[in-house]
Point group: C2
Chain length 381, copies 2
């Protein structure tokens, strides 16, 4: 008989958001008449921009016409979309051909783990978005380093051992903190010194309003030599169900033997993926027009305002709070309680769904993550 | 510095279809006024069904409304779509909950390799669709068995060593042959005896017209205990650019330790994937309505007729031909020539793009694959 893959067997049995959904459903069953505020999973709650929806609708219709039909596209994505991302989001500091269009950041994280394989050592922030850790387990990577925390959840790099790969998420999920220019300069210098590769997750960069917070690792000198960047239309423009993202592999990024990381990425990509949906890609093109960008920005502003309000309320209640600026998440400490105790307390008393911090690693114990993706936050806590 | 993943380094440097595209482009540059017939890559050439396009268009539009917006869906897919696949394509012999909706068969093959990991032994047919072999290399699987051929490209199972996993594609890409009931009974018995798991690729099942050719491995008694099935809307309904497929993991399918394969599949799925685009899923729902099915069937009939004509012409020219019935591919032998020589000859003399059989493994040497996905085949060879 076939043996179970030990790396899958080693995974934790419950995925964080599955357990949150289970407790939420149990509460709703017990309290069918109590309206719940969901500040749990980070997901758009407002309709998609009209500009984006119309573009996708038009493309979908045109697929039934001789002129509009299109089958397999390039695996790396629509060239026009690659160019528009390079132009609008990177001011052409990145070349379109360094971009691969994907079906979102999470699948890209999995494929990136495959790119480097099972032999690499990996560092992650703590607390950490589970996808990096889970995919590392799945690949059977032997060495996973949790970077010790310093100020405001930026890692203490002087106490961080060298690893091949460093996953770094800024603005951060779950802590809501966003690394400054100076911090990212320190990170790039650390990676350069150690000859590590950073996988920089910018899924929340559209929420940055402070000019001293970089939106891309490539704003840091030397970033191109040491970092892959992963971006997403999910939180930028509400594509969580539509599925669209991208990765950047600069041509300067090399392996030890001098070969180019981008070449291996393309080799893997064409074997594991067949392109993002052309309808989603049409939506991405529209999302990056001035009108599309503005419509999405108005929604992001609202979610940031929600986060600000959540933070204000929680701070007034005496909780230590992080984030909530330049990021739609607030990370709040509940002293004397475990995360799941705090989760149940907030669920039962304030009828509000959150995410237990312990789901993001041991250092998240005693914290809750509050998401600003909501229509109604004032009555929440 | 970071070491290159040796499994990626070990991959062949050119992917078959990339080289075909390169030679095609070179021909077009040299002969800008010569119309080319492309019987190469297997891809829809006709517009999508009106029913499917309208459904996707409507869903895309509705995403801009309060009622129609939807963010993250279930990773395993829209429940209604799972139910419709179970009902329409499996006559409810498969439960909807045994189905995972995907972004296509190719990414599913990669994820299935990950499911089983690097320690399993794998058998593939010969000639073989490169994706199974490439993803096996990528995972660093140590033992890859090429199943020896018997009649009509069905493997000689009495000479096939036992492996953990057997990839099997019927109707077959590239040979165009479709396994009969009796042959698949033999395959199921072989897997059962060896306690192997079959990964059954049914991407071309919509082309089966002969009632003695099963459209699913689950039509064979005992199939549920030994097989995962992967299906796709690509060749069934022209979704090559839209991206939609599914996998079936029956609850009877177990690992050596008695755990259920479906559970590990779900565990991996929720870490490596975030659902197919909801717009594509709306298209899938429409494709499985009586009207959608009929519109796609008319196109499939046309591609089958093309394949029949191609086979007739090639046979009249004295080539041994396989397939071309119940499958849109014809597999033709060009005696005395290598596949690439035959490819160049057909390209230069008949202005027709094909796919060299050698790209599907050594046993494909001297063959060409002709695809029926075309508007104009009569002048082809």
């Amino acid at each position: 008989m076939v043996k179970r893959n030990p790396h899958i067997a080693a995974l934790p049995s419950q995925y964080l958001f599955v357990e949150v959904a289970r407790r939420k459903a149990a509460f709703c069953e017990k309290n069918p008449d109590t309206p719940l505020i969901d500040l749990g999973i980070g997901d758009f709650v407002d309709p998609l921009s009209q500009t984006v929806a119309e573009a996708m609708s038009k493309t979908a219709s045109s697929l039934a016409t001789k002129e509009g039909f299109s089958g397999y596209g390039p695996t790396a994505g629509n060239q026009l979309l690659r160019e528009r991302i390079a132009n609008v989001l990177y001011q052409d500091k990145i070349n379109a051909n360094e971009i691969h269009i994907s079906d979102g950041a999470k699948p890209d994280m999995g494929r990136l783990q495959l790119l480097f394989g099972s032999k690499v050592s990996v560092a992650v922030q703590e607390p950490v978005y589970p996808a990096y850790v889970d995919t590392s387990y799945l690949l059977g990577q032997k060495e996973l380093v949790l970077m010790p925390n310093c100020t405001n959840f930026f890692p203490n790099l002087s106490e961080t051992p060298r690893t091949d790969i460093i996953f770094f998420c800024s603005p951060n999920n779950p802590t809501g903190t966003a690394a400054t220019f100076e911090q990212l300069e320190e990170l790039v210098a650390f990676a350069k010194k150690n000859r590590s590769i950073i996988i920089f997750d910018t899924a929340y960069s559209a929420y940055i309003r402070d000019p001293n917070i970089p939106k891309s690792i490539y704003e840091i000198p030397g970033g191109r030599e040491i970092a892959i960047e992963v971006g997403s239309f999910s939180k930028m423009a509400g594509f969580t169900g539509v599925r669209l993202g991208w990765s950047v592999t600069p041509k300067e990024l090399k392996f030890e033997d001098g070969t180019t990381v981008a070449d291996d990425w393309q080799a893997l990509y064409s074997r594991f993926f067949n392109g993002a949906s052309i309808v989603a890609q049409a939506g991405g093109l529209a999302a990056l027009t001035p009108k599309g960008l503005n419509e999405s920005k108005l929604l992001a502003d609202q979610y940031l305002e929600n986060a600000r309000e959540i933070k204000e309320i929680l701070t007034a209640q005496g909780h230590s709070c992080f984030g909530g600026q330049n990021c739609p998440y607030v990370w709040a400490q509940f002293e004397g309680l475990s995360s799941w105790e705090a989760f149940d307390q907030v669920l039962n008393n304030a009828h509000t769904v959150t995410v237990p911090g312990s789901g993001f690693g041991k250092s998240g114990e005693g914290f809750l993550r509050f998401s600003g993706f909501s229509k109604n936050v004032l009555s929440c806590c």
